[in-house]
Every structure is written in C-alpha cells, then in structure tokens.
C-alpha cells in the first residue's frame, strides 16, 4: 500500500499553489515591475543617452540593491502577512478546519506543507525576477551576479522572516481579520510601549526625556531595525562621478532575523500542535494567550490612548496655568482607557457585550497595574529626577545646547565631564524655580515675556559603558541673570564657552579628530550678502576658497575657540543680532566621500576675521555683517520710496557712516535716493 501519511503532502501543496494563484501572481508582478522593468528603463531609457556606461551601471545597481533592502522590507511586511493569511485561512473556519484535520495527515504535515508552499512561491517568484533582471543587465553588458545575489538575499531573507512571523501570529487566532491586526501590532508593540512609558516619564519626571531606544527594543521591532540597519551603499568616485563598490550593509542583522524567522516557524508549529480545532472563529485561539490579550490590550490602551486623552484635556484646560502636570488626571484617563481596552478585549474573547460581571476581577487587576505604573512614574519612586551618574562611570557625554543657536557635540575629557556633571547637579537643584518660571513664561503676555526672558535647552546623554542616561531641561531666565555667575544660565554660558565644548562642536560636525580634519580639508566657502531688496529681504551668495586658505581659516577658528571667544552670544538678548550673517563652510573628505560642515562666527572671532581679511575673503564687496546690521539695512531700504527694486550691498555700505565690521551692531544710515 502506498504511504501517504508522512509529514508532507503533495496534493495539499499542489492545491495551495493552484488555489491562491492571484496572490502569487500579484507578488511576482510587483517584483517584475520593480526589478527587471526598472532595470530595463534605467539601462535603456532616456538616462542612457547622457550617462556614461559606468554611471548607468551605478544607477542600475543602486536601484537593484535598494529594491532588495527597502522594497524587500515593505514587500516582506505586506506579502508575508497575505501569504500566511491565505495558506492558513482554513484555521479560521470550523468547516474547513474540520476537513483538514480529519484527513490522514498529522498536524506537522499540514503545517509543513502549507509553510513550504509559501516559501516555494516567494523563492520562485524572486528567482524568476532575479533571472529576468540578469537578462536585462546582460543585454546592457553590465551583468553582475553578485549584486543580483545580494538583492535576492535581502528580498528573500526579509520575506522569510516576515512570512514566518505572520504564520506565528496566525496560529494565535481563529479570525482571519485578526491576523493582520495581531501581526501589525506585534511588529511595533514593543517600540510603542517603550515610547509610551518614556513619554509618561518625560511628562512627569523633571529632566527625564526618555532613555533613547534600547537595543533590545530595536531588535524586537523588526521593521525599524531592518530599515535602520539593512542598507545599500556605495563609495563615491570623484573621477567617475558615480558610486562604485556597491554593497549591502547590515547583512548580519538580516541573518539574525532569518534565524529568528526559522525559530518562529518552529514556534508556530508548536503552537499549532496545542491549538484546538474548535477555536476556529475565536479571536484568540490559544488559552494562555487569551490572558495576554485581555490584560495586554488593557495596559496598552492605558499607556497609549489613555495618555493621549490626558494630553488632550491637559493642553486644552491646564497647560501653562498649572505648575506640574496633573498626575490624578493622568491616572484617571489611563485607568479609564485601560478598562475600555480590557473590557473591549473581553468582549472580543467572549463574543458578548455582557462582560462587566464576569470580568470585574480582571478589570480591578488592570486598574491596579495602571495606577501602580502611573503613580510609580509620577512620584518618581525610582529617583530618576535626582539621579546624576558617577563621574568615574561616565565614558563620554553627548550634549545639545539651545539658545540663540543650537550646538551639539561629545566630550570625553574628565575635566569637562566633571563640569557638565556640576551643571547637571545645579539644574536638578533648581527644579522648583524652573517649573515656576516655565508657568510664568507660558502664561504671561508673549511680547512682554520675550523681551525680558530668555529660553534655552540643555540635553545631556551620558554614555556609561553598555548603558546610557539621557536628560533634558528647559531654562527660562531673565536676561539680567547672565550677569550673576551663580545663576543657572550663567553656569551654562560658561560651559558653552569652554574650548573643550566648542572644539567638540566643531569636531562633532565632522566626526574626525582635529588633525584628521585639517589633513583632509579640501576647501571652503563663506556666505555673504549680495543684494538687499526693497521689500526688506536680501539675497546671499558664497565665496569659495582653496584648501590652504581653508586650513588657515580653520586654524584661526580653533585659536578663537581656545581663547574663549566662541559661544559668548548664545544666551544674550541680542545674540542673534550679534551673530554674523557670514557663515563659514569647510569641505573635507571621508571614506564616504566629500563632506562639509558649517561654523557660525561673531565679531568676537578676531583671529578668524583677521585671517578672512588677510586672504581677501572679506573685503568691500564681501563685507562681514552681523544679522543685526543686515536687518537694519533691509529695514532702512524698505522705508525708501520705491525707485528701484534692489540695492547692491556695496552701494549701501558706501553710504554707511563708518566701517562696522568686527564692531557689532551699528546704526546704519541709508540715503533716501541711493
């Protein structure tokens, strides 16, 4: 007698392949448009007329690899779910599950055959697509099997993972429409919960601004991780004017997810074996998962929709008028939405609206958890607000300071780290006062408040070996406090002017050491105002300078920084007016090609200005002007009777009473008829 009772069934496989052919064809068709057709248009279309063969090859390979990394992700996400829904749809109907499970084949056989059908379809579709793409590339004489292989690995790997994940999700439900819901939710739930908890903390905890996204959260959010890690790259070749050495980074990450996909397939089989046939039509088909569903939905609803409701009410009725966020209001909103989530889940599970009596114990539990979480965070039971890391444990500090401008960088020297920690301590000590000032700032007359009060921000991220700690503060200060060395803003101002901090700002922009930056400079440019219009606006242009000049100017900038001339106007009332409109741009090369960075200067950068003047970068045609001076000029031009539409800056400057360069804001007179 023939044996047809193994773990695989050919008839079932053939049925799967024939039954869902529209879905398989749709998957193949999309890939055919995205890859072979796209390759054909790139290599034989209009761009072939004006690009060199190497550039065409670059465009074709870039397209191909980005299709594998980016489109492969979206195709995997969408079709992985569709494939699983189609192949395992029989689990969602009592009739179909009855037929399938009465056949002489074990659950393993059914699972393996259906799972294999999905794999065969997407692997075949990708193979056909790859072969056609190879044919197109071959016809154009740019065939590279390695890149087609990379595309195939990226597309197939992502599809395998998402398909397996969707199959895993399918095993937990007996409702076909619940599959995409569960699948989507499980793809993002960890990230969403992490963000929700951090958002809750950042509302109630002074200085807490989330802890970033921990690595395990990123790994448990596959679309995010793959989007961030899996990337098609190339190296810019200046001579060829295109990218060469194309490759894909993040293949290790993809490998991890492929393995995870296989593990999920195994886990799905294990769930399938314990899943009961009678659960077809149930929202959750596995008994222990029903508890996870009802409590999970309650807590998720509390943390997400509950918080949203709180923000809605808070922003409409309380924001700006109350010193601290209203914890009781937040608790009420979160508990209410937690109950809505819990009873909603209960209704879905019980297929009945009458769940209040049977679910009251669970409701009490959800409420207790939400309240405990809310109170724990709101009252800072873990001491997050007052936590300052030990100086010895800090490897580096990433800082961002906002005021009249925004600067960021990373410092590693213990002395500067110690000063940052002192500032951090002072910020914690000033909590009460800062919260009062914040209320006054937002509740006062905006025009009046902004004349007398400055606003700045401090964000610190401590790197503590394998972990990191992040805090963020807002400062509201009367401008006269800048004169008081003990005030928070004065301490912040002093830190900002530290050469180590300012050097970190410059080097953080480039990601290079000082010597590397100087060695790899290729040139630079300076922006300057060219024309002032009668409507009060102006246009600018840039003046380039060569490598040696750029090096000399950058060295002058560094000397000004070392002399403490940088950052002096960051928090002053007239800081913006005192900043020069002339911004410096430096160009340098790195492994990934040509890069640039910008440095804003003020009239206090005396050495820099001298160097710019020495090399003729600043002259009468390209004057050094602060924003305040430009603003004054444009205002005066706007007040003139309209005789011409624009005024060359040179003409305007000739009419000015004196040279104001390097002397800060100056009253500038403009004649009535320039």
């Amino acid at each position: 007698m023939r044996s047809k009772t193994s773990c695989f069934n050919g008839a079932l496989l053939r049925k799967d392949l024939c039954r869902f052919w529209p879905l398989w064809c749709a998957y193949l068709a999309i890939w055919l448009v995205a890859v072979p057709l796209n390759q054909f248009l790139t290599l034989f279309g209009i761009s072939a007329r004006y690009n060199t063969p190497i550039q065409l090859m670059d465009a074709a390979i870039s397209n191909l690899l980005s299709m594998g990394t980016e489109m492969g992700l979206w195709m995997g996400l969408a079709f992985g779910c569709f494939f699983a829904m189609a192949l395992f749809s029989y689990l969602c109907s009592a009739r179909s599950v009855g037929m399938m499970h009465s056949f002489p084949i074990r659950r393993e056989g059914l699972f393996f055959t259906h799972y294999l059908a999905g794999c065969i379809v997407f692997l075949s579709a990708l193979a056909v697509t790859g072969l056609l793409a190879a044919a197109v590339q071959g016809a154009a004489g740019v065939l590279e099997w390695r890149n087609i292989g990379l595309w195939f690995i990226c597309s197939a790997g992502q599809m395998l993972f998402f398909y397996s994940f969707a199959v895993f999700c399918t095993m937990f439900t007996g409702q076909i429409l619940a599959v995409p819901v569960f699948y989507t939710a499980l793809n993002v739930v960890v990230m969403a919960l992490c963000q929700a908890v951090q958002m809750l903390g950042s509302v109630f905890l002074y200085g807490y601004n989330g802890g970033g996204t921990p690595a395990w959260v990123r790994w448990l959010t596959p679309p995010y991780q793959l989007m961030a890690r899996l990337e098609a790259t190339g190296t810019w070749n200046e001579e060829l004017r295109c990218d060469v050495d194309h490759t894909v980074t993040g293949l290790g990450t993809l490998g991890v997810y492929v393995l995870a996909g296989l593990v999920l397939a195994g886990a799905a089989l294990a769930v399938y074996r314990v899943r009961r046939s009678e659960t077809a039509d149930d929202v959750v088909a596995v008994s222990w998962a029903r508890h996870v569903f009802r409590f999970g939905l309650g807590i998720c609803a509390a943390l997400t929709v509950g918080q949203w409701l709180y923000y809605l009410i808070w922003s409409e009725f309380f924001e700006g008028s109350v010193k601290s966020p209203a914890l009781p209001l937040a608790l009420v909103c979160m508990a209410a939405l937690g109950l809505v989530g819990f009873f909603g889940a209960e209704m879905l599970l019980c297929k009945s609206f009458r769940v209040l009596r049977s679910g009251w114990k669970g409701a009490v539990f959800v409420t207790a958890v939400v309240l405990a979480l809310g109170i724990g965070v709101g009252l800072d039971v873990t001491g997050v607000e007052t936590r300052v890391p030990d100086a010895a444990a800090v490897q580096s500090v990433e800082f961002s300071f906002g005021g009249n401008s925004y600067i960021s960088g990373t410092v590693q020297d213990p002395e500067t780290i110690e000063r940052v920690l002192q500032l951090h301590q002072a910020l914690i000590a000033g909590k009460e006062e800062e919260e009062l000032r914040k209320v006054r700032f937002y509740s006062g007359d905006p025009d009046e408040v902004q004349k007398t009060t400055g606003q700045s921000s401090v964000t610190l991220t401590y790197h503590l070996g394998r972990t990191q700690m992040r805090r963020s503060y807002e400062l509201f200060y009367p401008y006269e406090e800048l004169e008081d060395p003990n005030s928070l803003v004065a301490q912040l101002g002093t830190l900002v002017q530290e050469p180590a901090v300012q050097r970190a700002v410059v080097l953080d922009n480039s990601g290079l050491t000082e010597q590397e930056l100087l060695d790899q400079l290729t040139g630079g440019s300076m922006t300057y105002v060219q024309t002032v219009y009668s409507d009060g606006g102006w246009s600018s242009s840039s003046y380039p300078f060569e490598e040696k000049v750029a090096r000399a100017v950058l060295e002058a900038v560094l000397r000004d920084i070392d002399a403490g001339r940088a950052g002096g106007v960051m928090f002053t009332a007239d800081g913006w007016e005192q900043t020069c409109q002339n911004s410096l741009e430096f160009w340098y090369t790195k492994e990934d090609g040509l890069n640039s960075m910008n440095i804003d200067i003020t009239p206090a950068y005396t050495e820099t200005i001298a160097a710019l003047r020495q090399y003729g970068i600043i002259n009468d045609e390209r004057p050094l002007l602060t924003n305040g001076e430009i603003y004054t000029l444009s205002q005066q031009v706007a007040e003139q009777p309209i005789q011409q539409d624009n005024y060359e800056i040179l003409d305007l400057l000739r009419q000015m009473p004196s040279d104001t360069e390097a002397s800060g804001k100056t009253e500038t007179a403009v004649e009535a008829n320039p």
């Binding site: 079932l12 002489p104 659950r107």
Partner: protein, 298 residues
C-alpha cells in the same frame, strides 16, 4: 471496532461530553441518536481526529485516533456541513482526496459516476445542497474506507437518492465488512439500516444495544380494563400511559410475555402487545431523563 471510553470534552468550562462511552462492533451499522445538543457531533469529531479529548479515550481497532495518520487513512467521514474548496470541481476534490487516501479507488470513483450522474467538471459551489451531499458520498465511498462515519448524512437527499446511498453503504458493509457509525435524527430511516443503536443525552450515552435487544426490552400494550377500573393500576411499572375512550396504551420496560402476564392479573377485556418503533423507544427512554414531549397549552 470503535471504542469510546469515558470521553470528556469541555468548551469554555461546559462539558459537551461528560464521560460518554460507546462501542461499535466491527462490521456493524451503529445509529447514534439523541436530542439536539446531546454531543453527537462532538463525539463524531473525536472519532475523526478533529477534536482532542480532555479526558477518556477514543480508539479504533485498538489504536488511538488522535494524530494517527495511518489509522485515519482507513476512516472516511461525512460531516453534517461538508467542506469543499470554493473554486473546486468534483474532479478537483477527487484529486485532492486521492492525494490523501492511499486506498482511493479510481475504479470505484468511475463506477459511482454512473450512480450519482453529476458532471465532475462542475464547480461544487454551484451544485444544490443535495447534490453536494451526493458528491460527499461519492468521494467518501471512493476512499474505500474500513470505517465510515456519517453525521446527518442524508439530509437534503431525495427519497430515491437516500435509498441509493443506503444501498451503497450497506453493500460496503456486506461485502467489505465496513464499520459504519451514523448520527441522525431520522429515526425511521435509522431503524431500516442500523443493527445497533446508542442513545445520547447531555454528553453521555444513556444506553446502547442492538436494535433487536432494544425492541425486546420495551413493549407497548393496548389494554381495555373491565368495568370499575378507570385508571392504570399503580403497581404496574409503566413508563408512559395514555388513554383514548376505554383503551389504555401502556409503555413498559420489559418483554411482551412478562407485560401481558402482569396486566392479566387485572382481567382485562383486551390486552394486545405491539413492538415499539425506534422513535418511540427514543422518546420514552429520554422521557425518563426529563426529555419528554411536554403538553404545553399556549
């Protein structure tokens, strides 16, 4: 032989099967009857390996059914709501079944084509309910099973086709020793084809016997008592009594001779013993467990 011992199945805490026990002798035609919700379909789904029991055992030929592919290859089942793929024709489904059942006989399939006279290229979805049922029989019988498990199998079939189908089933029983278990509410029909009967109620099998034993064990007496006796004497063990004029109809759980002898003590003017139909046995047996036809005045 099909053996079910102390079978328990719970749905959301409700015991759909509560220690059901039955045994179907090899080569017999076993009728499983019971009121709605008694657990017949649930029990059948255990026999076909769809449900896993919470307690007890389900064996066929001494082997457990659950996840026993080799055993299930010898079982063909027709559920009350037979499933087919929406786009499939009879021929498609035949190929599908043939891929699962090693004993599937194309010879028999072709022979049955003449019996059912359905175009095998037609989409099953477009067939009438009765024709779909015929297709189910066509495929199940083509699998050449040793065990045939049928849940409300002739619902929707016309009388001619019913006879045809029963003739095919009984032919298999006679020629190949197929064991058949049928769940049905059509007791008159079961009476014609079954040689064993089990009565289920509330998740348990109340009794199971051969049809002959069942009929020998219960009797219907039509009695006319002499003047002066207007009510049925209290010492007679009567399951059910009714009266039309002076004629009393008594249902008693005993043999015909014993019942006639017990009534003879009252010198009846007339005492006539009649056999019960399966439907009457079903009604009066369940009357003892509070499932009688109630005289309700609306």
């Amino acid at each position: 032989m099909i053996e079910v011992r102390e079978l328990v199945k719970k749905f959301d805490g409700v015991r759909a099967l509560d220690g059901a026990t039955l045994s179907v002798p090899a080569g017999s035609v076993y009728g499983l009857v019971g009121p709605n919700g008694a657990g017949k379909s649930t029990l059948i789904r255990h026999l076909t390996g769809i449900y896993r029991q919470d307690g007890g055992s389900v064996t066929i030929g001494g082997k457990p059914v659950w996840e026993n592919a080799a055993l299930k290859a010898r079982i063909a089942a027709i559920p009350d709501d037979w499933y087919y793929f929406l786009q499939s024709s009879v021929r498609d489904m035949m190929r599908f079944y043939r891929g699962f059942y090693p004993t599937f006989s194309m010879e028999r399939y072709n022979a049955l084509k003449e019996v059912f006279q359905i175009d095998e290229r037609r989409t099953i979805r477009r067939l009438s309910k009765g024709m779909q049922k015929q297709v189910a029989f066509w495929l199940a019988l083509s699998c050449m099973p040793d065990y045939l498990i049928l849940d409300e199998p002739v619902d929707g079939l016309d009388p001619v086709m019913r006879r045809q189908v029963w003739s095919l089933v009984l032919g298999d029983v006679a020629q190949r020793g197929v064991t058949v278990l049928i769940s049905s509410h059509n007791l008159r029909e079961l009476e014609d084809v079954c040689d064993h009967v089990g009565i289920m109620d509330r998740g348990r099998v109340l009794l199971e016997r051969s049809l002959a034993q069942l009929q020998d064990n219960m009797i219907k007496l039509q009695v006319v008592f002499p003047e002066g006796i207007t009510e049925v004497p209290a010492d007679l063990p009567v399951l059910h009594a009714s009266r039309v004029g002076r004629v009393h109809t008594l249902i008693m759980r005993m043999g015909a001779e014993e019942a006639t002898a017990r009534v003879a003590a009252y010198h009846p003017l007339l005492a006539d013993a009649l056999p019960l139909t399966l439907e009457e046995i079903f009604i009066y047996e369940l009357g003892g467990v509070d499932y009688a036809v109630k005289d309700i005045v609306l």
